[in-house]
């Protein structure tokens, strides 16, 4: 059986796309808690491997036939993890952390006070920028 190698971002994005309906990039961003550019990067990488297609000005992501087939296999393996016909994993995660991932993960580790301060600072910066334009 063919084995697919995904980064963890690609895997969460791929798993969050509805098998029949697809999903908008923004729904995927909210559902996966990744940033918009991380979702788009993952969707483009999946698109290059013919697992998804990007439609509606690259704002909607849909599974291709191959993507749907892989999702069904993953679903089957998740339900029957010890069945002999599906003992070899279909998906392997290879994680090379990009700089962007590292920055996101650092923010995720902040404690509530640090986070409130950083968010407030960012909001003030945005308001100042908006005031200048």
């Amino acid at each position: 059986m063919e084995q697919y190698t995904f980064t963890s971002d690609e895997l969460v994005v791929f798993s969050a796309i509805s098998i029949n309906e697809g999903a908008t990039v923004y729904e995927l961003t909210t559902a996966t808690r990744l940033t918009p550019s991380e979702v788009l990067d993952a969707a483009r990488a999946l698109n290059q491997r013919n697992l998804v297609r990007l439609v509606a000005d690259r704002r909607v992501v849909e599974l291709t036939k191959e993507g749907q087939h892989l999702r069904l296999l993953m679903e089957h393996q998740r339900r029957q993890p010890f069945s002999s016909s599906s003992s070899a994993p279909i998906v392997v995660i290879s994680d090379e952390d990009t700089g962007k991932n590292a920055a996101r993960k650092m923010v995720e580790k902040l404690n509530p006070q640090e986070l409130d301060f950083a968010l407030e600072t960012e909001l003030q910066r945005l308001e100042q920028e908006a005031g200048q334009t």
Partner: protein, 195 residues
């Protein structure tokens, strides 16, 4: 009267399930089609429960029960009865259970797929409208307030949601519109998360 009560009970339960499953914005393009699938499915479940009442009302387990209560019990238990296996067939030496569940689930999937498609298009329009209307700072402030005022979110969920908002704002590779639409979707979707 009793079949109507059984039907109304099952209809109400179907309505609750639809309401729990789909978020449909007030502004929908295919309002007529949405209404037809939504209320049609509710009416079909009600009619099926009423028909089921006529079939099972005389079974021994329900004997002596107040007729109105019996109708409510059948209305509430309608899905459980549909999912029950009525009989088994012997195919090549194996017992294969038979019931109406596959038929019911098929019909439900058929209707839910169409409702979802309409609701999804409406949600996308709503997200893009909000993203076009409000600046990023205003959207992010609204998202932050929503997180802080959400009594159902645990402190750790609030921390993670705020971290996500901050990460979106600091996403250097995303366009302004993508950031606004992501935060708008977060606000409109009630902060649901795949985790």
């Amino acid at each position: 009267l009793e079949p109507t009560i059984a039907g109304l009970t099952a209809s109400l339960l179907t309505l609750f399930d639809l309401d729990r499953t789909f978020y449909v914005p007030a502004k929908v393009q295919s309002k007529l089609a949405l209404g037809a699938w939504w209320w049609g499915f509710i009416a079909a479940n009600g009619a099926a429960a009423a028909a089921l009442y006529a079939i099972v009302k005389d079974i021994q387990a329900l004997q002596g029960m107040n007729p109105v209560l019996k109708a409510i019990v059948i209305g509430v238990g309608y899905l459980a009865i549909i999912r029950a296996k009525f009989t088994t067939f012997n195919i090549q030496g194996r017992e294969v259970p038979f019931g109406l569940e596959a038929l019911y689930e098929g019909a439900k999937g058929f209707v839910y797929k169409r409702i979802n498609s309409i609701a999804k298009a409406a949600r996308f329009s709503e997200t893009m409208d909000l993203a076009a209307k409000e600046p990023l700072a205003a959207l992010a402030t609204r998202a932050k307030l929503n997180i802080e005022q959400d009594a159902l979110l645990a402190p750790e969920d609030k921390r993670r949601a705020k971290a996500w908002v901050l990460n979106v704002l600091q996403d250097r590779d995303a366009t302004e519109l993508d950031k606004r639409a992501a935060v708008a979707d977060f606000i409109l979707s009630g902060q649901r998360s795949g985790e």
